[in-house]
Amino acid sequence: MSQTTAQNTKSADIPITVENVTLGYGETVILEGVSFEVNSGEIVVIAGGSGCGKSTVLKGIIGLLRPLAGRILVHGVDVAAADEKQLTEVRKDFGVLFQSGALFGSMTLAENISLPLVDATHLDKDTVELLVRLKLSLVDLDGYEEYMPDEISGGMKKRAALARALALDPSILFFDEPSAGLDPITSAELDRTILSLNQAQNTTMLIVTHELDSIYTIAHRVVLLDKSAKGIIAIGDPHELAQTATDPRVKDFFHRKARE
């Protein structure tokens, strides 16, 4: 661990550093030698076709999947080597929006959102209730405190889950396919919410998606993964990449062309 501490001072300013990471399940290697950084207040999108390992990278960074090799530093803590206690500490500072929302079905929306608030703070009941309503109003769900997750629509569930991820005003937010299963209008609204949160709070965001519209709207930088390359094939501003890329795989992705 002493080595990691030495590194901490250098990398503490950069919220997320992925260094030469190999990820996979059991014997199957999905990604090899992946390296990139996410700077403070930046929105980075991880994109690529199905099965290229987008969600796997996310799982690695949030500590749900241990990498087979390499280091992943989140606020200077190596989540690949950290024990559960350290991971819990690091996780307190980030929020995750899962693909399905992952709201707890047996709790009302208010209970879902107050769960992290009650656990991590010493705020009194009234303030927690006020904050719950604030979080719901941020995602345009005010008035739905007492609804159960199965009483609201898919898009609303997604937004409620975002409100839960925002509960503690995390400095890093992770999104796994935020627009999956949403109509274009709801999806664009969610993009707007993401942008306004990023600007207002300088929240660092790492978003997994393959929606080109979202990528162009919200991404400061895009990390493009490829299944056969088992790694990154391009990193950069999406508008620039779309225009200047010479790699046919990158071109195809940005111009929605199916490859033979």
Partner: protein, 380 residues
């Protein structure tokens, strides 16, 4: 990063006498953790005597998150409510954006939705009764569907998914055998031991064999096996089908033109029907073996005498009745397990509820069925 967790890293100062123009100066971190404290302090600014005007200077604020911004916005709307001129100064661009996100009018508590409102006791009683009646109807309808499906399978055996039947036969029978065998063996052992203490007094040692054989084959073998199968397999059927309902897999089957009851429930029911009598026979055998160990080691009986007495006590009818009970119990356990699975509503919690309900209902029905058997056997 850690100092982010610490509380109240902000400073607050109020200049000007109450009732006159006042300046509130804030600096440091106005974050979520400080929200409760901030709200308290702000209340005191406007009460008991509100200032003639209030200007809030946040130029010294280094960090402002949604919690802090909410407190400021609430102060602003409270001031407006009391008609105190309010001014917010020293905002950074970011703070401005944060404050713009907050809409104080949306923070009022809303009444719970109508579905949450609870009726009075008579309404609830009526609703519960209707639900019970509905459940009963569901069970009867399900039994009908399964019966028709069984008839269909007897006519056209190829319509059943036999590979699934094999799979569930393995899960119910082969995988369940060790625990059924162990429990029955110990049961036989305990029964023999407890009765031996009494029978020894009368020199009737040898009747231990009769007692163990009759009690086990007629009554306890089928019951114990049924309880174990209900716990192992009935619950897993309910959970499996319930999860499929939650994941819309059952809907997918329906729209593809399959009857979910036939596709999902029938293989499980047929497998349980086939394995249950076999498990019961094994249970009987193991219990007799357990009794024999006590008989031979503790009561000085020979293996030959013990086996002779066991065979003398039992008739073929006893064994077939036990096996037949097994068939009936299997139908109840697998049937209720599958039926409950289909009734899941909600998510993970719903699956848990139906699993419990499947096991409880199966045990209840097993005992009821066994009582009916006892009465029928007594008269015929």
């Amino acid at each position: 990063m850690r100092n982010r967790r610490s509380k109240e890293h902000y400073e607050i100062s109020l200049k000007g006498a109450p009732g006159s123009d006042q300046v509130l100066r804030l600096s440091g971190r106005l974050d979520l953790y400080a929200t409760g404290h901030l709200l308290e302090q702000f209340k005191r600014v406007l009460k008991p005597k509100p200032p003639s005007s209030l200007s809030v200077d946040i130029s010294g604020v280094k960090y402002l998150d949604s919690g802090g911004a909410m407190a400021l916005k609430l102060l602003e709307s409270q001031a407006a409510h009391q008609q105190v001129p309010f001014k917010l100064e020293g905002m950074t661009k970011q703070a401005q954006q944060m404050l713009q996100l907050i809409q104080p009018d949306k923070l009022a508590a809303t009444p719970p939705p109508t579905s949450e409102r609870r009726g009075n006791i008579i309404e609830n009683l009526g609703a519960a009764t209707r639900k019970l009646g509905g459940d009963l109807l569901d069970v009867i309808a399900f039994v009908g569907r399964i019966f028709l499906a069984l008839v269909h399978v007897v006519r056209r055996p190829r319509s059943l998914r036999w590979r699934d039947v094999e799979l569930y036969m393995e899960r119910v029978g082969v995988d369940g055998l060790p625990i059924v065998a162990l429990i029955s063996f110990l049961l036989g052992l305990i029964m023999a031991f407890m009765s031996a203490i009494q029978l020894k007094n009368f020199g009737a040692n040898v009747y231990v064999a009769d007692l163990v054989a009759l009690a086990m084959v007629r009554e306890l073998g089928p019951i114990m096996t049924a309880v174990l199968v209900a716990g192992r397999s009935g619950s897993s059927f309910a959970a499996e089908i319930g999860t499929m309902v939650v994941n819309e897999e059952v809907d997918a089957l329906t729209v593809m033109g399959f009857d979910p009851a036939v596709f999902l429930a029938l293989p499980k029911i047929v497998a349980t029907l086939l394995m249950m009598p076999l498990l019961i026979l094994f249970a009987d055998l193991m219990a007799i073996l357990g009794g024999m160990i006590i008989g031979v080691l503790y009561l000085d009986l020979t293996v030959y005498t013990y086996v002779q007495h066991t065979m003398g006590a039992l008739s073929v009818a006893d064994i077939t009745t036990g096996a037949f009970k097994g068939v009936v119990f299997a139908m109840l356990i697998a049937g209720i397990g599958c039926q409950r699975g289909f009734t899941v509503s909600g998510g993970a919690e719903g699956v848990g509820k139906v699993t419990t309900s499947a096991v409880v209902a199966a045990m209840f029905l097993i005992i009821v069925a066994d009582s009916i058997f006892a009465i029928v056997q007594y008269y015929f």
